[in-house]
């Protein structure tokens, strides 16, 4: 195989890896079902934890850029994850942030509302079923009777992959859909990749794919989903429920809406919008009849904010580490 040539001239070498994630991205790859045989036909998979053996030592031994494309899922939460991300970056020509956690921190990124000390306190000390009178917490280096054991450092802040290494492409979604995965694989194999830094996904919002019709009706107050007495066949926002459809990139076929549930934003900001939360707040302001940010008085803003009981969890559920405000001020 000629290593000097471009990806299109040979069978590309793929790699999959995961960091702080749930494994759902791995299952998403399995869920392309029989299409996985097509992928194996067009690419060499150097390692893929679900189906094949990981060769960590071999990766270390590889020449730089030996892997053509590394699909990296999961956020960066520990020292070890940071180390592996850097190693894989060195060995890969193209680094793809795969799934919401790698792209924006994902649900584990919500941990940026706290720091290590607070997280440890909750899990190990004040936890109601934990019996821990000596207030023991895990340590990076522990002397046991027989020798020494080590654990990787747990960081205060969850980082995205891009905050850790240089990333070439982004594939959002929690998890990405089989169609999104195949689109990305197709673009790579045919060498039709968009400019570096692109997010791979359609240039439309979830609303564009939603089955419900919008009537531009204003609402007067926000409802919780469980407060809806009956479900009507119309836009959930117009029924008063916060739905992140207007602020979220499509490509998912609005599957959550098909199950009568609001979009929670897993596919990240819409194209040409940097901050998902800011976009959603502006969409909410509009539907609540608070027109135009410049006309919003302090009282109007307060009225709006008061109705949103958990702005961080509502607007930045999957992308807090990537947001303009990416963590709470650190408590000491």
């Amino acid at each position: 195989m000629d290593k000097g040539k471009k990806i299109s001239n040979k069978k590309p070498r793929f790699a999959f890896y995961w960091a702080a994630s749930c494994g759902g991205c791995e299952i998403a790859v399995l869920d392309i079902n029989e299409k996985i045989l097509d992928v194996i036909g067009i690419a060499d998979i150097l390692f893929w934890p679900v189906a094949m053996d990981f060769k960590y030592k071999d990766i270390k031994a590889m020449k730089d850029n030996h892997i053509d494309v590394c699909f990296f899922n999961g956020a960066i939460r520990t020292e070890e994850q940071e180390h592996i991300a850097k190693l894989l970056r060195k060995k890969s020509k193209i680094m793809v942030a795969f799934g919401a956690c790698a792209v924006g921190g994902g649900i584990p990124g919500l941990a940026n509302v706290a720091n290590k000390k607070e997280i440890f306190h909750t899990s190990y000390i004040e936890n109601p079923s934990t019996d821990n009178p000596k207030k023991t917490v895990p340590k990076t280096k522990v002397a046991v009777k027989e020798g020494t054991l080590t654990l990787p450092e747990f960081y205060d802040t969850v980082k995205t992959l891009e905050q850790t290494v240089d990333v070439d492409y982004f594939l959002p979604g929690c998890p990405p859909t089989p169609d999104q995965i195949m689109t990305a694989v197709g673009a790579i194999v045919e060498n039709k990749l968009p400019p570096k830094g692109s997010k791979i996904g359609p240039m439309k919002s979830v609303c564009d794919e939603c089955r419900f019709e919008k009537s531009e009706k204003k609402i007067t107050n926000i409802k919780r989903i469980y407060e809806l007495e009956k479900w009507e066949e119309k836009c959930l926002l117009e029924q008063g429920v916060i739905c992140l459809g207007p602020a979220t990139r499509g490509g998912c076929s609005a599957r959550c809406l098909d199950a009568n549930m609001p979009c929670t934003g897993c596919n990240g900001p819409t194209p040409n919008s940097l901050d998902q939360g800011a976009k959603m707040i502006s969409a909410l302001a509009s539907i609540l009849g608070i027109e135009g940010e410049e006309n919003m008085g302090d009282e109007d803003v307060q009225k709006l904010i008061d109705q949103v009981v958990d702005p961080v969890g509502t607007f930045y559920k999957y992308y807090l580490p990537d947001a303009i405000i990416n963590r709470r001020v650190m408590n000491k």
Binding site: P49, P108, A259
Partner: protein, 486 residues
């Protein structure tokens, strides 16, 4: 003193690490399985909208999102003082069966089963799903892929997405079924029942008819006499979605039986400095360290734990298999770790039979699927995740936000037992400093049987997990490396 560090290179890279310490004679003094990851869900759940929890907590594990989704939804039912309509409960349970079908097939054919189907002493490179297909035939391989996908499809029809579902709401479920969907699901389930029976026959032909394999199952390094825990229905039959928590002792006698609302009177968690995972134990017995027997509070959950903690299965074919299981393996309790695999297939059959009962229930197309919620308060929910008992406990504030959350997940319940199984397998094979290649497989099989989901404390799908044992002399100098699948 020699130290053997097993760094599971693949799925467990960053997700698990085993260190074995030898004494001066070269025998195993102790072994540790460390979980080097924590994500902090209990902390960052605080302040979130309660109704978001079924979707937030499903991200604890992308392999078993349905288990967290419904343990969470049930905790919300309790916290909002609402009992869902019976159709909603049936729809949730039906989706739960779809999840079990997918998950148990995944483990048996892709992950754990290859050890037996292909053989415990087959070359490592063959002990994977491809090896299973080669041994059982390509037609079987196609059936495996098809039925795993059916499980996911049933979940997706009901839940919106299979990974991660969205339908769970306090008081019910967001979506009912129409007749077309019922027909589709019915066909898939009927095919899954045949497939489950085929899988048990395959296990019978390849494993149980082979004395060598049965001897391995019954061999000493794989015996662990712990307590067992699982959800049971009013007849003490295994139940995945709901019921009472029952604990049995090492001989199968009932130790205690309690409603999940009393879990904190019966279960406690212990913290060690050397791992991020906690260890659960029976409070009445207490934490006595990593040991089994009557005097140690450690218990096991998951397929074997559930079968041991119950007295039967609620469906006819699965119950027949249940009886055969105990007749073959010498009565209650079955303490062999490797019996998890057989137990898992019996549960697969139960899941398909139960799914058929549910899809044929006339109420399954009812659109009465939600009840109005009451005031927010405190609530506890329990389900049996594929890997064991799963508890979600929330305290809500007056605005329906999470004030406190406590999660006891399946693999945490097994953490102590997995650690001991790894240690005992190492002790069984390593003596006088001789570490054979077989050690790796013995150890691998010991903890693979649990299907440990270390994302529920990190999570692994060790499809032929590569292992490396580094043996260091007392000066910490590496003198031998054994690799498998590398």
């Amino acid at each position: 003193m020699k130290t053997i560090i097993i760094d599971p290179i693949t799925r467990l890279e960053g997700h698990g690490k085993i260190s074995i310490f030898l004494d001066n004679k070269g025998d195993v003094e102790n072994a540790y399985l460390q979980i080097p990851e924590l994500r902090g869900f209990e902390r960052f759940s605080q302040g979130r909208r309660a109704e978001d929890m079924p979707q937030i907590t499903s991200r604890i594990c992308g392999v078993c999102p349905v288990a967290h989704h419904f343990a969470s939804t049930k905790a919300l039912d309790a916290a909002f003082h609402v009992d869902p309509p019976s159709a909603a409960k049936k729809l949730r349970e039906l989706m739960y069966m779809g999840y079990y079908i997918y998950d148990h097939i995944l483990h048996f054919y892709y992950l754990g089963g290859p050890d037996f189907v292909v053989g415990p002493d087959a070359p490592a490179a063959q002990r994977n799903v491809i090896g299973v297909i080669e041994k059982a035939g390509i037609e079987v391989g196609k059936e495996v892929i098809k039925h795993r996908a059916y499980g996911q499809k049933i979940t997706a029809i009901l839940g919106g997405k299979a990974t991660h579902p969205v339908c769970g709401l306090p008081g019910g479920i967001s979506k009912g079924l129409n007749k077309d969907e019922v027909n589709d699901i019915e066909k898939m389930i009927s095919s899954c029942i045949d497939f489950a029976q085929f899988s048990l026959k395959l296990f019978d032909d390849i494993v149980l008819q082979n004395k060598k394999y049965v001897d391995v199952i019954l061999s000493d390094p794989y015996q662990l006499a712990t307590y067992n825990m699982g959800l049971v229905d009013k007849n003490n039959n295994v139940n995945f979605y709901d019921g009472t928590i029952r604990v049995t002792d090492q001989q199968g006698n009932e130790q205690c039986k309690f409603d999940v609302n009393e879990y904190y009177s019966h279960i406690a968690e212990h913290v060690e400095e050397w791992t991020y995972i906690k260890f659960t134990y029976l409070k009445s017995i207490g934490w006595k360290g990593l040991k089994d027997g009557r005097d140690s509070g450690i218990y096991r959950v998951g397929p074997l734990g559930r079968l041991n903690a119950a007295e039967g299965m609620a469906t006819p074919f699965a119950n027949k298999e249940y009886k055969r299981f105990y007749e073959t393996l010498g009565g209650k309790s079955v303490n062999s770790t490797l019996a998890f695999h057989w137990a898992r297939l019996i549960e697969l059959l139960y899941a398909t039979e139960r799914a058929q009962e549910l899809i044929k229930d006339p109420e399954i197309t009812s659109q009465k699927i939600r009840n109005p919620v009451g005031e927010p308060g405190e609530g506890i929910g329990v389900t049996e995740a594929a890997r064991g008992t799963l508890i979600h406990h929330y305290k809500l504030d007056k605005d329906g936000l999470i004030d406190k959350a406590n999660l006891i997940v399946a693999t945490t319940n097994n953490a102590g037992a997995i650690n001991m199984s790894v240690r005992d397998a190492a002790k069984g094979l390593i003596s006088k400093g001789n570490v054979s290649d077989g050690t790796l497989n013995m150890i691998e099989m010991a903890f693979r049987a649990y299907d440990p989901c270390f994302a529920c404390a990190t999570h692994t799908l060790p499809g032929g997990m590569p292992l490396e044992i580094n043996i260091y002399d007392h000066t910490k100098k590496l003198y031998k490396t054994i690799r498998q699948n590398l």
